[in-house]
């Protein structure tokens, strides 16, 4: 292979690092060539804001938790460095590192309470933090902190005669931020964040510890923002609360990533490189006549992006160039096919008689409605149990209780001998309980393969191990040919098979299958039943909820029939179908009466 071929075949981190290197080279040349100190300053500032954009992107671009408060970390970093220098004469070489660590910690502290909030409340809380800090710093008296000029050995204090040094340092910072972003994006850190963004519940059920990854993201993000802030203080030599904690700062962090391309490596850089010089030049030329022009520019940019290219320029360009290709995220090409190694998913049979799942006295009410009513049943290892009942009988509620998405009001769930109390869904997945959903919850912007690989994270350490398991699961359900398609392009049947594969990849002992046959035509239904039998053949216990008795009757060992949240009947398919209580629950009381009456009429003829 030629050198060009080798270069083109690089993927993931290696490819990114190559691009980063090229970019750094170009930037370096530019910095050395340009001698005008004003342009040097702009190059420096642009790089700082690009870092800020990357920091925001790391948290919000990947995880979907939009932070309106990154100014908090930026400002903290700036003030830390400024105060350390002016009060204790500590060199920024040291204090910027300190600021990075301190802000990382502050990110963690902010994340712990704030991630418990959803949606609007999260956005509002994040908005409040920098504004609160702004007032506090104003009150404490740090309206304006100037970094003193160091006459002797200025270089030791990161002060230079020639501004090109600042530009170079800014470049170093940018390269570091890009490197960290690339490493995050190309590993399970980034994939987990993407999963959280695309469907947090599905990610939880697949074993992803969503809280852990969110905290990790905000810690790294805040650290980078702190470094940017600290360096910004060194460059500008003066720090005011409004300049570093103000809403414009948070808005800028947001806009660069959203403008350039959310969730991409180069998007924030592109955004900063377009918008910062634009606003700086406008400011320089028009600020006297048009005060506030910067804010207007950013505001208009945000509005334009939201209306016309909500994902950012990079995505829009891609959509225009390749209109047929669905927007796909994540790193799919790097995972090779590891073959159909079903043995990886086999669950060995149990020696003793303890049931794999035992439910006793389970109850749950919503408002006045008793969704689950004193439920008792158990499931043996390797059994295929069907849970049926008319609409509104409480079947999905039961799964949500078993799975950990809701807590019961009363009762016990014992899984593999352990009581499940407050365990979150991802912990239950780690313990061996997997699940599919009534309405499939694919990670739409990821390939089938990535969808399934995410399911494999919970029990695997390395990429190879995860891929092996994913590959085995995909082969088992028969989606091998489709594995590189984006999930959004799949048919209903394929989506359900993929969900099943994702569940299988986590090496479960028990799978909760929720109405997997819904919307399937008779052929697809038979196909699905065959797959379920294969899964059962691996020794995995299956509990399946369905409406369609037709199909279930061919499949299950035993039925549990629910009505109004309580156990109505239990037993083999034969007995259940002839059980008069069951018939009444499904078809209505009159049906049996009619049958009886017709029977009598017939008898009289």
């Amino acid at each position: 292979m030629t050198m060009m071929d080798t270069l083109k075949s690089l993927t993931g981190v290696k490819r990114d690092f190559l691009h980063i290197g090229l970019f750094a080279g170009v930037y370096l040349l530019l910095a050395l060539f340009i001698s005008n100190s004003y342009y040097q300053l702009i190059m420096t500032i642009v790089a700082v804001w690009a870092v800020m954009g990357l920091s925001w992107n790391l948290l919000s671009g990947y995880s979907g938790l939009i932070s309106f408060g990154h100014a908090a970390f930026f400002g903290l970093g700036a003030y830390l460095v400024a105060l350390c220098l002016s009060v204790w004469n500590l060199s920024p070489w040291f204090t910027i590192v300190l600021a990075t660590l301190a802000c990382g910690l502050s990110g963690l502290l902010v994340g712990l309470p704030t991630f418990r909030l959803r949606g609007h409340y999260f956005a509002l809380a994040m908005l409040a933090y920098p504004l609160a800090l702004l007032y506090i710093f104003e009150w404490v008296g740090y309206q304006e902190v100037a970094l003193p000029m160091e006459r002797e050995a200025p270089a030791l204090y990161m002060q230079f005669d020639n501004p090109v040094w600042h530009t170079l340092l800014a470049l170093v910072l940018l390269v570091l931020a890009l490197g960290i972003s690339s490493l995050v994006a190309n590993n399970r850190f980034g994939m987990s964040l993407l999963a959280i963004k695309l469907d947090e519940d599905a990610a939880e059920a697949a074993g992803i510890n969503t809280l852990y990854w969110k905290l990790a993201a905000i810690t790294v993000s805040a650290a980078i923002a702190g470094a940017a802030g600290g360096f910004y203080a060194v460059v500008l030599l003066v720090v005011t609360p409004l300049a570093v904690f103000g809403m414009l700062v948070s808005a800028q962090a947001l806009i660069f990533a959203m403008f350039g391309g959310v969730g991409t490596l180069w998007g924030p850089v592109l955004g900063a490189f377009i918008l910062v010089p634009l606003s700086e030049i406008l400011y320089a030329r028009y600020a006297a006549d048009f005060p506030g022009i910067q804010g207007v520019v950013y505001g208009v940019a945000i509005i334009a992006v939201i209306l016309f290219a909500p994902q950012g320029i990079l995505w829009k360009v891609r959509a225009l160039l390749k209109p047929d290709q669905f927007r796909i995220l994540g790193s799919t090409a790097s995972v090779a096919d590891f073959g159909a190694r079903e043995e990886l998913l086999v669950v060995p049979p149990e020696e003793d008689e303890t049931p794999v799942l035992a439910v006793s006295g389970l109850a749950k009410a919503f408002g006045g409605l008793q969704a689950t009513n004193d439920l008792n049943f158990s499931v043996r290892h390797g059994e295929l149990l069907g849970i049926i009942g008319p609409n509104g009988a409480g079947k999905t509620t039961l799964f949500n209780l078993l799975n950990g998405f809701i807590r019961p009001d009363a009762g016990e769930i014992v899984f593999r001998g352990k009581h499940l109390h407050k365990q979150r869904p991802n912990q239950r997945c780690a313990a061996g309980m997997a699940r599919t959903f009534q309405v499939p919850k694919p990670f739409t912007h990821l390939s089938v393969l990535d969808n399934v690989v995410i399911g494999a994270y919970v029990h695997t350490r390395s990429k190879e191990e995860a891929s092996e398991h994913a590959s085995a699961a995909i082969h088992l359900v028969g989606l091998h040919d489709e594995c590189h398609l984006p999930a959004a392009n799949l048919t209903n049947k394929q989506l359900r098979l993929m969900e099943l594969a994702r569940a299988l990849a986590s090496k479960p002992t028990l799978i909760l299958v929720d109405e997997i046959l819904a919307g399937l035509d008779p052929d697809a239904m038979q196909e699905m039943l065959a797959v379920l039998r294969k899964v059962r053949g691996l020794g995995i216990t299956i509990i399946i909820i369905e409406h369609s008795m037709q199909a279930m009757v061919q499949l299950v060992d035993r039925f549990v029939v629910l009505d109004h949240g309580a156990l109505l009947a239990e037993g083999s398919p034969d007995r259940i179908v002839r059980n008069p209580d069951v018939i009444e629950a499904y078809l209505g009381k009159n049906w049996l009466d009619n049958e009886a009456r017709d029977g009598e009429d017939a008898g009289h003829d």
Binding site: F68, L117, L124, G292, Y298, I306
Partner: protein, 319 residues
């Protein structure tokens, strides 16, 4: 200072807090309407307040010298007029911008268009704020209302010493604010329009089955929300000095009041705003100036983190 002096200070702050709080309450009502019906947090709400203030200020400056309008009632009437003016602006902004990211199209966007709405209003806020800076200049101004300088004396009470001075402009503003809230409550409660807005908020699908145009309901609700906050701003304009960035300062007051009262509850929002006003004024007795707002922040954060559903509103949304 002796006990009576403390008492006097306290009562004075309490009264000021209730009066200012009424105006805050009005602004909170505007914010909560938008959330209650549309489920959108409008980051630009402070800017619409600011526009209401400047509307009042400029109309007063331009027409206040005309003989017909030369009266103490004029600034107050202008504040009320800011409502319809801002209603039109709000409806326009909704139709042009916000509509694009709400409703049916929204589900195509990332995270269900939820964040798109937030970010869009942030962009609008930046444009209004900084556009305002350009158009209005950065000098703080105020509506020079004669009544701002007059006060009624309530007292002397206890032992011939304790007197509370009740600012006349603030009082009239507060009364007007109360009237607007009550009037709006009647609108929502009794008119066909109001009921259709509440129905659209309760259950958009069922509302559509009844023939209610939910998109239009959102537009009207947005207009109302903006208008009411603008009236609050207009009333405040006689009592504080302001510049184009004032929106940011008051945003947190509005949000604190709204979450205190429970997002979506009109009565809760008014009471929440009232509480924040009292908190702000009373805390001025013990805390230095700059920290007053920090107190509000801290309250806001505590409420969001511990009891996001608020205290005053019940589970009802708009009524």
């Amino acid at each position: 200072m002796d006990g009576l002096q403390y008492l006097e200070n306290f009562l004075q702050s309490l009264v000021a807090g209730l009066l200012m709080g009424s105006m805050y309450g009005l602004m909170c009502v505007g914010l909560t309407i938008i959330f209650g019906v549309m489920r959108v947090i409008n980051f630009a709400q402070g800017e619409f307040m600011m526009l209401g203030m400047y509307f009042t200020y400029f109309c007063f400056a331009w027409f206040g010298t005309w003989a017909f309008f030369d009266g103490v009632w004029f600034p107050f009437m202008l504040a009320l007029l800011a409502g319809p003016a801002m209603f039109l602006l709000g409806v326009l902004i909704h139709r042009l911008l916000i509509n694009a990211v709400t409703g049916r199209q929204a589900s195509q966007l990332e995270a269900g268009g939820h964040y798109a709405q937030l970010v869009l209003t942030l962009g609008i806020a930046l444009v209004l704020q900084n556009g305002g800076l350009f158009i209005f200049g950065s000098n703080p101004v105020s509506v020079s209302n004669e009544l701002s300088y007059s006060a009624w004396e309530w007292g002397p009470m206890v032992g011939d010493r304790v007197s509370v001075f009740v600012n006349q402009a603030q009082t009239i503003s507060a009364i007007l604010a109360l009237f607007v809230v009550i009037g709006f409550g009647q609108l929502m409660g009794r008119t066909r329009l109001g009921k259709s807005l509440r129905a659209a908020a309760d259950n958009p699908d069922a509302a559509t089955y009844m023939g209610i145009n939910v998109d239009r309901a959102h537009r009207v609700a947005f207009g109302f929300g903006v208008a009411i906050t603008a009236i609050g701003g207009g009333l405040l304009a006689s009592n504080v000095s302001f510049q184009p960035y004032i929106g940011t300062e008051y945003v947190i007051i509005m949000y604190a009041g709204v979450v205190l009262g429970g997002l979506g509850s009109v009565r809760g929002a008014f009471l929440g705003g009232l509480t924040i006003g009292v908190l702000q004024q009373v805390s001025a007795i013990i805390l230095p100036n700059q920290l007053q707002n920090t107190v509000i922040f801290v309250c806001f954060l505590i409420i969001i983190l511990l009891r996001p559903q608020g205290f005053f509103g019940r589970r009802e949304r708009i009524a």
